[in-house]
Symmetry: C2
Subunit: 559 residues, 2 copies
């Protein structure tokens, strides 16, 4: 039997202005789905894997083909439903409705665990959508660079007076998201030591200039770190090995990094985290043959890994979880104080979320990098006095290689997003841009996720686990006229631990698009401000008032 | 401190054609919210409890007041968001978008249990929405009568050659939903013995003619049953007591009912199921003082109750779970074979779901019973050759007292629903009806729920726990222009065990409404046919083909 999830061959999104579908509203999801599987974008495109463990773009190749075929014929008053990567229905809606509605990996809570998911997955009844994999707005490691950069910069502000020169960050995982860490550290001015157990992943990051050099062994790595930090050079170093071997060794040697975190795929013990004493190939094999035993071995290794992180924290090194649920896994293996070090959101990111700021992004459907450079300039023009943002854009242009369709990410918030979206739409209308752009965001955003071990950890009112919010976000984006909307479960932190939603909207230069953009790019971040205001955060309440939001129990603007 | 959830006073929906809001699209949710709390409708309106344990219409009275105030000012291009019974935001959308979007009781799976819910609830951060309580389309016990009737009739067909004369049904629970059982049994031609531990609930059912008589004790009850079954009279008898005391006693005495089921609120051990050896008041008190101990006591009593049900099954009596999750609770208390008797959906209802048939309902916003009688006649006219349906309508008119706004329920499916909705809209336009009607349904419907111990128990492909389906249903109804849409967790079977969605649409007699009705009342049941076709049910696949659905992996109609 051939594996319905494996197919050789290369997929790349069409470029240019020639439509393959009936309009740009359907061309956009078509190109972005294909772009998610571009070999320059996806981690393992032939297995449909985009990033984040087994985060996929479609259930299997037959489903992929059928999604493509259906999009090619979809009318502008029809909506395609995608259920865990399978195209299940086409329904008549209307022109202001989304063209695609997606639900991936959702399970009734009592059954919402990897064990049940893997059972369904084996039967062909499930797909892990991660966040932007199954919702077709992954843009390669760039998507995460700015988030990681913002986190490192904020940590630098809190712990090192805003200057990371001569400092170094210890982390692991150079996958789709984790691969952004070395570059983000460099952009933030720090050296970094990045442990990764697969040489192929290191090669990918070296090739795309996300990491600068590879050390031959631990001694070599430490020597390089010593030299570069002394010279004040922000250079990133990869080291091939298992983090759970290397971290304890560093503790033993008394080495003291300036910051410690981790982005292995700990959220998925069966597919994403290498147990000690194995090669990656042996792990893949063991996962097939003995899923329960392999899961256990991976989680036990995570316990070792987290124990070492806790040691660093005890030394006074700023240590944080980077959103892969490794603390939970270690806790389940008996590391009772696993949650002693904080997650990155409460530690560094929440104040941004309170203003609706998060990983906003856009991609040029033309395929032309010039389109992105022009939007970069437009952002600077419209947000003239944000130095940090200008600095980011300059660095991004200089250092970040496009993967697949040219794209940009910018952490901007309520007010700014709609302004930029409308301006981009104008640029499409006027012909300044050579083709439409799509605007989207990560599911890790201000108003779109409930994830008590990550985005909603330690909410001030204790509402961490309330997931009404992402559901309302998805419903409202649908009601506002987004081009596609998605609702996922288990992204980032794995089955059982999160619910979240995604949104993408097309700027095709029409008036109708402008109206939809104004609504969606206001309402979407506004739900984030609302959620944080409801939890009692002053920054969010102030922002709601400034921006004239109508939150009945909190603030009613004068009409 | 006063309890923010308790307020004396009576709420009834306004009647007539005078608007209290800016249009019928907002008047409708206003009236239906109030109608849910009408003392003739709700089980405990002063505590905001509508039915089903602690199923509420609003988080607390302050939230209720604010929802009302907000609806009064809401524009026809605005959307109100309600989060677990609290009005949290008003956003600009468009005229074809829903006016209200609701998410109730949703929790991230790992935390989706009663313990965490009750903690949040105590802090004022949660509300249990049940199915139609928090989504404002509960219409009193009538809402469930037909479902219960259809179930008893189908059971009669399967086990007794279609004739229940001289037969009797043993059950318990005369609450908001369970109270429909005696009447449904009578309509189906059977006697019934209905055990209920609260005298006040029996009084309510006697007053509204849902139950015929009350027995003084068990001997009296059995004597009456004996007499009426011998005479072939379908009379319902209430008996005050604890089901877990009475069922084992019946087993001991060797009494043999013809059917056994149960509709106590077993889904909520802390608030809805009386432990043995206590009065209801003692139970309420104990729940406050010792939640964990009381929960345990209730679940242990359920184990006794289920053990007795299993005994009846062993005697060959058709025995089924009626959707309150009592088997799961008993299982958790050590009754290993609790799931030996089936749930009512796989046993009797699924073939209907495969054709998109489910508890469709409508209410006359005028308050005028004549409006409902006219729609009854219209249903007969448009569906002329369904004898069973005509019989149901006749009996309903004769035997079912309206509670609150006059309303009707009718199990109809794909094709019929849109036809009826468009006809009702025409009747509003022409003035035949004195005011608009709203059309909705239970969350227990063909395409709107994932609930592995109830609606999706034993799906043929094993996809019981996949909850992408209700999420897609809610997104599609939003995209189709329903008037309000809701997404709930834990209805029927309690926290952790279900996810489901609701939809209501207004027929205000306009062309715009007609377009929305055509879409919503087609798409909504069509998702049910789609879900069952995807699971491989032939009835559903045939129905999809007949009705020209476009299900890309299954059937593509000729365009
Ligand atoms: N913080 C964020 O904003 C954010 C965003 C998205 C994802 N995440 C989470 O970060 C994690 C990484 O995401 P990704 O897309 O890079 O995943 P990925 O699966 O593409 O990459 C994970 C990498 O970790 C490596 N690895 C696994 N076990 C290892 C070990 N013991 N030692 C060293 N290396 C090991 C793997 O070889 C792989 O290259 C995931 O858990 C993801 O959910 C975080
Ligand atoms: N089958 C369906 O279609 C369907 C639909 C909706 C709800 N339900 C489920 O049915 C159950 C009942 O719903 P409801 O709205 O009537 O709830 P409710 O809370 O209004 O009524 C439950 C009744 O059971 C009685 N009761 C509790 N413990 C008892 C005991 N040990 N012995 C005798 N009586 C006892 C209570 O006094 C109460 O009157 C719930 O679990 C609900 O989720 C089923």
């Amino acid at each position: 039997m051939t594996d319905p999830r494996y197919r050789q061959g290369e997929i790349r999104a069409p470029r240019g202005t020639q439509l393959n579908t009936k309009s740009w509203l359907t061309e956009a999801p078509l190109r972005m789905l294909m772009n998610n599987l571009d070999p320059d974008v996806a981690e393992n495109p032939e297995a449909l894997v985009v990033y984040g463990g087994i985060g996929r773009a479609a259930r299997n190749w037959e489903c992929y083909d059928q999604i493509v075929a259906t999009l090619k014929n979809l009318e502008d008053d029809e909506t395609l439903l995608v259920q865990s990567g399978k195209p299940v229905g086409v329904f008549k809606t209307h022109s202001n409705a989304p063209r695609v509605l997606i639900a991936n990996s959702n399970l009734v809570p009592h059954w919402a665990n990897w064990e049940h998911f893997n059972e369904l997955d084996a039967k062909g009844l499930a797909m892990y959508g991660q966040m932007t994999a199954g919702s077709w707005i992954y843009i390669g490691s760039q998507g995460i660079v700015q988030g990681t950069y913002e986190t490192f910069v904020e940590a630098g502000r809190q712990h090192y007076g805003g200057d990371l020169t001569g400092r170094w960050i210890l982390t692991a995982g150079l996958g789709g998201m984790g691969g952004a860490q070395p570059l983000a550290a460099t952009l933030a001015g720090a050296c970094s030591l990045n442990i990764e157990c697969q040489q192929s992943r290191i090669d990918f990051r070296l090739r795309t200039r996300y990491v600068d050099e590879q050390a031959t062994d631990l001694d070599d790595a430490l020597a390089r770190i010593k030299r570069y930090t002394a010279e004040g050079k922000a250079i990133s170093i990869a080291l091939c090995g298992n983090a759970a071997d290397i971290l304890p060794e560093l503790v033993k040697r008394g080495v003291r990094p300036d910051m410690v975190t981790d982005q292995t795929s700990a959220h998925d013990p069966l597919n994403g985290y290498l147990p000690q004493g194995m090669s990656w190939e042996e792990y893949k094999d063991a996962a097939q043959k003995d899923p329960a035993g392999t899961t256990k071995a991976a989680k036990q290794t995570m316990a070792v890994h987290v124990a070492a992180m806790l040691e660093f924290q005890k030394m006074g090194v700023p240590t944080f979880d980077y959103g892969n649920n490794i603390r939970q896994m270690a806790l389940e293996e008996g590391v009772e104080n696993a949650f002693d070090f904080p997650g990155f959101v409460p530690a560094y990111i929440r104040p941004l979320f309170c203003r609706g700021i998060g990983p906003f992004r856009w991609a040029a459907l033309s395929g032309d990098p010039e389109d992105i450079y022009k939007t970069d300039a437009k952002v600077k023009e419209l947000i003239p006095d944000d130095e940090h943002l200008h600095h980011w854009l300059d660095m991004a242009r200089e250092r970040i290689q496009f993967q697949g369709l040219p794209a940009r990410i910018c952490w901007v918030g309520l007010g700014q997003r709609a302004k930029l979206g409308l301006a981009f739409n104008e640029m499409v209308r006027s012909g300044e841009l050579s083709a439409p752009v799509v605007i989207g965001r990560d599911h890790l955003d201000s108003g779109s996720v409930a994830s008590p071990n990550r985005e909603t950890e330690g909410m001030q009112d204790g509402s961490d686990a309330v997931s009404d919010w992402p559901l309302l976000n998805a419903l409202l984006n649908t009601a506002s006229g987004a081009t596609w909307v998605s609702l996922h479960h288990g992204g980032g932190v794995g089955m059982g631990f999160s619910q979240h939603s995604g949104v993408v909207i097309v700027c095709d230069g029409t008036d109708a698009a402008a109206e939809r953009i104004a609504r969606v790019l206001h309402n979407d971040p506004a739900t984030g401000v609302m959620r944080h205001a409801d939890a009692g955060y002053d920054i969010a309440i102030d922002c709601a008032k400034e921006q004239g939001l109508h939150l009945p129990m909190i603030t009613t603007p004068n009409k």
